[in-house]
């Protein structure tokens, strides 16, 4: 991947305080989540009914959607017990700054649902 795809979006300190945050990068709405000390990035618009995941909650290592409580694994984007997958993004933390690669990663074998 090209190194210039990394976009600085926030500070780790900010996420430590808020744990979740919506950022917009290159037209992509991306939800950032601090889960167990690791920063994850998911497409903010829930695959189920389009609610904002950044308005949700982190509970037991899962990102919980405010719409209907779909619970996503923040690393894979897979919802527990449901079909489909939330696109994820690569994240890098360096010197207290959080960088995101705004090109969504689609899971292997997943077509456009």
């Amino acid at each position: 991947m090209e190194p210039d795809e990394w976009v600085e979006v926030t500070s780790l300190r900010d996420l430590e305080r808020r744990r979740r945050r919506l950022v917009v990068v290159g037209g992509e709405q991306i939800g950032l989540f601090l889960v167990g000390g690791t920063v994850y990035a998911l497409r903010d618009v829930c695959v189920h009914k389009g609610r904002s995941l950044a308005k949700g909650t982190i509970l037991h290592g899962r990102v919980i959607c405010p719409g209907h409580q779909w619970a996503f694994d923040p690393a894979s984007g897979r919802p527990d017990g449901q079909e489909g997958c939330q696109p994820t993004y690569r994240v890098r933390v360096e010197d207290g700054a959080v960088y995101v690669d705004p090109r969504p990663r689609l899971p292997v074998g997943e077509g456009n649902r």
Binding site: T57, I58, L59, C65, P66, G67, H68, Q69
Partner: protein, 402 residues
């Protein structure tokens, strides 16, 4: 060890129970007897996406006939059970046939309560897929829809009808919608939500007289006003389907009475879902709950208990309702409270209201705050006594209170 299970009913609870029995390795006979002609399907979208034409009937399916065939689960559809013989663990079908099993699960659900005097070609009730198909054909831009009852079904139909461009008048007997569940303060928020969406909400009103002409329907209300419309949707609650249980030996009290293990007082006869008035340890009372998540969880618990695993049903109840572009959610159960603590903005329909009784969190109701409701549900399960100031403070992460 039991060798056969008959589930009376073929809805959400029945489907989840059947799937759970197989998942837990039960290899005996499983038979679902359902009155509708369709294999089990989800009902929540019938007043929402499906009614709006945004979801297909196929997407609602819970157990396909292929799955049932592959897993040895029998489906007797379009079949009415006329009597349950408790001690024999037998069911009698409409044609006279009698089926026996080692365990019976009563999951007959319920049907819409009828409003006396409201009869005619333009009257609709909503419970089944067929009901939804019929109502869907009525909802077009400019259709004048009269909804009787501002409960969850009525409010969701009103919302979907508005989204489809219909004119909607809601007639509600109580002073506020949903106040019997949520209290007056949140009832006011729900009323504001409906009115903001352009619903003509008439509270404190009853249907005194209903008439139909070739051109339309007319409701004369308790206060003497006339509301005219093209179609009338009645959503005034549900009646549990207990008729086949008369004389069965099980205790009936607005539903089938069961303990926290889904057991009736007749050995080997269980009940779950909408029809079951179940003892819930969190409230110390018997409650009957008519919601999707309960139908699933209770069906799962029943299957476990039928197989001899002592699995008390203890999770706080939880339900959602999609209305007017907001996701309403409720967790727990509170019939009384001393304080409601609000986090967020009710005037922006973006909040959670926490119901505290003696300092203990009993219930939570929110709009577009499902994540926080999930946390609240855990606080409710642990009978937590959260600091009201922390609940109110948006900078406090609720998970810190767990």
């Amino acid at each position: 060890m039991i060798g056969s299970v008959i589930v009376v009913g073929a809805g959400q609870t029945a489907a989840v129970a059947a799937r759970t029995l197989r998942r837990l390795g039960f290899d005996g006979e499983v038979l679902l007897v359902g009155e509708e002609h369709l294999p089990p399907y989800q009902r929540p979208p019938l007043s929402k996406d499906y009614l709006a034409g945004e979801e297909s009937a196929e997407a609602l399916g819970l157990l396909s006939e292929e799955w049932c065939a592959g897993n040895g689960v029998g489906l007797r559809l379009g079949t009415r059970v006329v009597a349950v013989r408790g001690p024999e663990r037998a069911v009698e079908l409409a044609g006279g046939e009698v089926l026996r099993a080692d365990a019976l699960l009563i999951a007959t659900g319920g049907r819409p309560r009828r409003l006396p005097g409201v009869e005619g070609e333009r009257v609709r009730y909503l419970r089944t897929l067929a009901d939804a198909d019929r109502l869907r054909a009525d909802l077009r831009p400019g259709t004048r829809v009269i909804v009787v009852g501002a409960g969850f079904v009525g409010s969701e139909v009103a919302s979907t009808a508005r989204a489809l461009g219909a004119e909607v008048t809601v007639i509600e007997r109580a002073a506020l919608p949903l106040a019997h569940v949520l209290g007056e303060r949140m009832g006011e928020v729900c009323a504001a939500l409906q009115r903001a969406a352009g619903v003509d909400l008439r509270t404190g009103e009853t249907v005194r007289e209903y008439t139909e002409t070739g051109r339309g329907a007319a409701v004369l209300t308790g206060s003497g006003r006339v509301v005219e419309g093209d179609v009338v949707v009645v959503g005034v609650g549900m009646v549990p389907n207990v008729e086949p249980l008369a004389g069965s030996g099980v205790e009936l009290d607005d539903g089938v009475v069961v303990d926290e293990y889904c057991r009736t007082r007749v050995e080997g006869v269980y009940a779950a879902g909408d029809v079951a008035r179940h003892y819930h340890p969190l409230t110390g009372r018997r409650v009957r709950v008519e919601h999707f998540d309960h139908a699933s969880g209770h069906g799962m618990a029943a299957a476990k208990n039928i197989l001899g695993r002592r699995a008390p049903y203890t999770a706080p109840h939880w339900f959602w309702s999609d209305q007017f572009d907001r996701a309403l959610q409720y967790a727990g159960h509170a019939e009384e409270w001393d304080e409601i603590v609000v986090r967020g903005r009710t005037d922006e329909f973006d909040f959670v209201a926490f119901y505290l009784c003696g300092g203990v969190l009993r219930a939570a109701f929110g709009m577009d705050r499902g994540g926080e409701i999930a946390v609240a549900r855990q606080l409710i399960a642990s009978r937590a006594r959260p600091d009201p100031a922390a609940l109110r403070d948006e900078d406090t992460d609720l998970t810190d209170l767990l």
